[in-house]
């Protein structure tokens, strides 16, 4: 493939990855930003979103579009409920202590993974996309004295991948609006700034924490539901998601939603482009190297505020 169309294909692949990464990492960033705890089981909520989507679509059957819309609505809510339960049963009792939460969420990771293995099984199962038409994309070339469009062999995108990108933009915009304009967002930001003073003002901080944890789980489960028609639902898919979410959140700055989005774009696009032109392993090496550089030279991340 010529360089121009090749770059376009790489950019599109990277954009899809960036969209999913942004959703995944925003959940992690929100949880850390408000609650100051790290959730190692974050990737497993992503996997649960995908697995629940499979369960719901196979239970409903019929028209793939309706089944998928049902999954899109129900699965994140269900995973959010699981996350709220995990917070109230486990993390609250550890008093949100950072080290103990890390250990506890590692245990939660294994429990969720093995429960899924015992019930859903070890297979990767597909979910039919609600719509998936192939769209051949044109490229411009200089010929016959003027700019002309032509359709290079293999340069295409599917309508579903475009939908994933659009959905991520919509959800993240909604999240931003909720955090800055709504009352619940105000309460979350208050709890984030200074939880003791917030408590003194009568804000139910522990309930806010439960809601935030649930929201974080729901966001990453939404990413899982969106990705499952492209890849399949497999009980090990959380591992990669966790690693990439951490890379994005560390580079963007823990607690900063804007930083997370910028970092997701950076990592997603660079991963897509480097994978296409060089090799996927090199892309992962560069992403991890970036994390190391950020941790050495700017530990709060590109956009993170100073730690309190």
């Amino acid at each position: 493939m010529e360089f121009g169309p090749y770059l376009m294909l790489a950019t599109l692949e990277g954009a899809v990855l960036a969209a999913v990464l942004a959703l995944m990492a925003s959940g992690l960033s929100l949880v850390f930003g408000v609650m100051r705890v790290v959730n190692i089981a974050h990737g497993e909520f992503y996997m649960l979103g995908a697995v629940f989507a499979w369960w719901i679509t196979s239970a409903i059957g019929g028209d793939p579009a309706l089944a998928f819309i049902a999954a899109l609505v129900i699965a994140p809510v269900a995973v959010g409920a699981v996350a709220v339960a995990a917070d109230m049963v486990i993390i609250k009792r550890l008093n949100y202590d950072p080290e103990r939460t890390i250990v506890a969420t590692i245990g939660l990771l294994y429990i969720i993974q093995q429960l899924t293995l015992m019930t859903y099984g070890a297979d990767a199962r597909p979910v039919v996309a609600p719509f998936n038409t192939r769209l051949a994309l044109p490229w411009i070339e200089w010929s016959g004295g003027g700019l002309q469009l032509y359709w290079p062999w293999g340069l295409s995108v599917t309508s579903y991948k475009l939908f994933v990108m659009a959905a991520a933009v919509v959800v993240l915009t909604g999240l931003y609006l909720m955090m800055t304009r709504s009352r619940i967002g105000l309460l979350m930001r208050a709890a984030q700034l200074d939880s003791e003073t917030a408590l003194a003002f009568g804000i139910p901080v522990e309930r806010i924490y439960a809601i935030v944890f649930g929201l974080g789980g729901a966001l990453v489960a939404l990413a899982g539901v969106l990705i499952v028609p492209i890849q399949q639902a497999h009980y090990l898919m959380g591992g990669d998601a966790l690693l990439l979410s951490f890379i994005v959140v560390i580079i963007g700055g823990l607690g900063s939603l804007g930083g997370t989005v910028v970092a997701a774009l950076l990592i997603g696009l660079s991963d897509g482009i480097i994978s296409v032109f060089f090799s996927p392993t090199l892309a992962k090496i560069i992403a991890t190297l970036l994390v190391a550089l950020v941790l050495v030279f700017r530990p709060q991340g590109l956009f993170g505020g100073k730690s309190r």
Binding site: L17, I230, M237
Partner: protein
Amino acid sequence: MSKPLNLKPSISRRSAMKTLGLGAGAAAALPMWARYSNAQTSAPIRIGFQKHATGIGASYGRWYDRTSQAAVKMINDGGGINDRMVELVTEDDGTDPKRGAEVVEKFATQHNCDVGFGTLFSHVVIGSAPRAGELKLPYFVVSEGHHVASGMLNRYTLQPGITDVKSQVQAMAPFVGDTLGKKVTMIFPDFAFGHDHRDFFSKAIEAQGGEVVAKIAVPPAETSFTKYFPKIPRDTEVIYHVMVGPAVLTFVKELGEFFGPSRPEIFGFIDSLEAVDLASPGLEYLEGTYFWEGNPRYAQPDQTSYDKYFRAAVGVDDNGASVNDPKDVSTYAHMFGCWETLHVIKAGMEASGYAGPQDRSKLIEAVEAMTSMPESNEHPQGEKLFNGKTHQVFGKQYISKVTNGKLIRAHTASIEDTLYPDEVDYTSQGF
């Protein structure tokens, strides 16, 4: 929000040590009651089954398990081996080479198995077989990798139930070169099994006057494949693909999405679609393309009684799916290997008069002496020819065409087409 430190724990060190000591004592005493009080010969023959229950080989592991249980039931219903019943001891190796070596050790030392068997993924075979050689455990793999016949492994490792990649691609190259095209792009997983395809098919197609224009290696655990396809050169006439792992459906779907309506000829190995329904959405573009099949998934018009018997015993319908769930598609092109291997183990034990682990080398010598195995209920995939020197079996290879959503056999390669010169003589090695 911090609580004062609790300096007095609720469990004292003394009571903890007591409990641990009791537990250790109970564990040590366990083997005493679990042994057979009868004579050695009425104890069952224990075959250690190394199953890919989890990890990237899990779909195959599930079907290997069902086939092996069915074969053991058939053997036991027929009186067992040397008047002893057969017992399968199953352990999960997680499709991981390191775990595989640990599982082999468990078979030999903890479970007191007579033989080990059942490993499929080539990197696990290469990681586990050396340990079997060290522990002198006969190790029957069902893998298709060329490593047994290449001399890389040891005299204790045999592959008598399934053919290997070198013989498969050698038989495919003439068909690909004559029928589909001479310029081939290969897409394969980036580990031992995929490297076998890359190396042997390149040589075979060049011998036919063809040329491999691109070799695209994909990591076995990859989940998204579109980024590899732009490397396919524009002048490719045939895409040759073989992919493994949980993401094979994504691979085949994205291949179709990449090409759209203007696709080249495609020749795939059914590995890319094992345990996947051919009628899945996104696979319509495969109509008219060809697949290598180790054993035809769909019952053919000239189905033998042996294939019918095999399907009924394992619980597979005429479409290659489970009789209990039409969506549960089997790994039909590989799982016959477990059935045939277990029957070879039975034949070997009977020929050598196997009585216990002291006869392991006699068992191996008896299997090395085997040559032709006729098509039968014990060998439903077709007749076989075993090479005792290289420990590898040779059999017929099938090419099917996707016609109206089913795989219909279009060409059969004879055993002679698949033979190649010996690369090792394990019989000259000691035990």
